[in-house]
Amino acid sequence: MSALLACNGLTMRFGGLTALDGVDIAVGKGETVGLVGPNGSGKTTFFNVLTGLYKPSSGAVRFAEADLFARSPQEIGRAGVARTFQRSRLMLDQTVFDNIAVGALGRLDLGLMTALVRRSRFRRQLSALVEQATALTRRFNPQIAANLFRPAGSFTMIDRRRIEICRALIGAPRLLLLDEPSAGMTHEETRQLMDDLLAFREEMPDLAIVLVEHEMDVIRRISDRCIVLNFGKKIFEGPFDALIADREVQTAYLGGGE
């Protein structure tokens, strides 16, 4: 069986700096991969290359049998790759619903005629989307579903992160990239968010997830397989238990060694 996502020799150079150095990463349908590594090891760069924000220098990216190497973010987004960001990128003064709707815009009718003249068509799409957004947010937190038309800025950090995840999920992606979902949250909040994600994964067994995380607990609980990057190179791939025992990984994190 071929993988959903297959990156081969993916390389990203910024001038003299090689942020990704011939990385091979494959992710299968329904698989959750934890991506770890020290600061500056290239994890977020990998996400940015994968979502088209950076144009990779060389390599190959195949996603669901399509060539996504150096495509635009728009094409990649429409192909079914969604992501969250390390720092919240919600529109805080807009309602939760509007924020989540952004994730669905790719499949909605954005035509000016629908906006200006064919209002009944717009209303039908709107009602359907409100239902979907309500159902989706309710799985994460019923309080969000009940306050769908409140500004996103009036919610706590954990709820904002949930909203961001819902925004990524409403477009029914096949691959979800989570960039440090636990950033800025307490242990308890992180644990709750992981419960949400695990519960959600049960319901969408086909969804592939790549998770960048510093919280090792999170990685341990949620990932089927781990990949460690260091200085843009893949230095480890395997189950979490092996990761903990791996000498090279320990050296990368703790320094020392020889």
């Binding site: 815009l105 035509g111 000016l112 906006a115 009602s127 477009g171």
Partner: protein, 397 residues
Amino acid sequence: MSMLQLAPTLDTANGRSVGLQRVVVALTVAVLFAGGGFLLHTEEQGQVIALLAAFVALFALGEKLPAGRRVAALCVAHPGTVNLTAAVMVLAIAAALREEHYTLLMMATVALFATAAAGLTLQMAFAGVPNFAGAAFFAVGSYVAAVLGTSGIPHLLVLVIAGLAAAVLGLLLLLPVLRTRGHYAALVTIAFGLLLRSFLEVNDVLGGPQGMKVPSFSLFGLSFSRVTEIGPYDVSFYLPYALAGCFLFALAFAVVRRLEFSFAGVALDAVRSDEVSASVFGLSIARWKATAFLMGNALIGVAGALYGMMNAFVNPNSANFGDSLIMLSILVLGGLGNLWGAVVASVVILVIPEKLQAIQEFRLVIFALLVIAILRFRPSGLMPRVTRDFSSFAKEG
């Protein structure tokens, strides 16, 4: 926060209270419009100052008192009642002041500048594309009216062509505007405005520095400048212009509002607030910025065409940078993204200096102070944009 941003928590459960709410809204809007109409009309310095004081007091009450905030929230919750009352009041004011040339001229000017502000709203408030050449696109409309007005093309069509011409000229700017952001995009538009003005000055076909005469607007063979009576009533020939201007604004208002309350509106907000995340969710930044920029310029061009026809005259000075800044101050003062705010700000910026002769000479100084004061005390304008709330639409659907 501002009075219009407070989310309304209203008991719309029983019909009687909804009816009562509508009455309160209608009365509020009627009082505001009546005051505005009176301000347009009166020449007495004392009355002008008293009216201004009353408006400031009303705004302050609406902000500070719970009851005032509740009324403001009601107005947000019943946009249909607001619009209907406003339309009725405009007709009533026009009917009452039907013979007053000057008042009707002011009314038409306010309506047309507010229409241009609607165009700028699409560009700046929705898509985040700065346009410091509003007056230039406005002048393009006037020039199109001057050139095509005598050609025998029906004038309604001339208005449409003026809008298209402004949009097409905006195309020239599109590439540099899409490739730059923020201050740099603003500079591009400033340069365009200056270039256009110089071009008009040296171009003899378009009358050079003297400009051109613009024929009066005529609708189905009826020239507006010849209208002196309607039925048994004597009227000013500015009356049809005032009504046409208000009608144009109503159209622009409907376009902007429908766009705002659609998925295209969500897309524009997403593009403005965060290009990176908008791209990741599949939105084309160029498409949405271009859409807003072209549509906005088209609205400005149409307003400019009717304005030129009303003034019967256009010259290169119409495209000056100062007037572009006036349009921007209308937008900023009123509140980016709130068209009622643009109407209020048009009155403040266009009418008040005319009414208070004492400040005429200091007009620019007072503008500057006003803008600084607004930025200091109400950074999001007199009437900030109300957070879009789709919930009422969804229920009906």
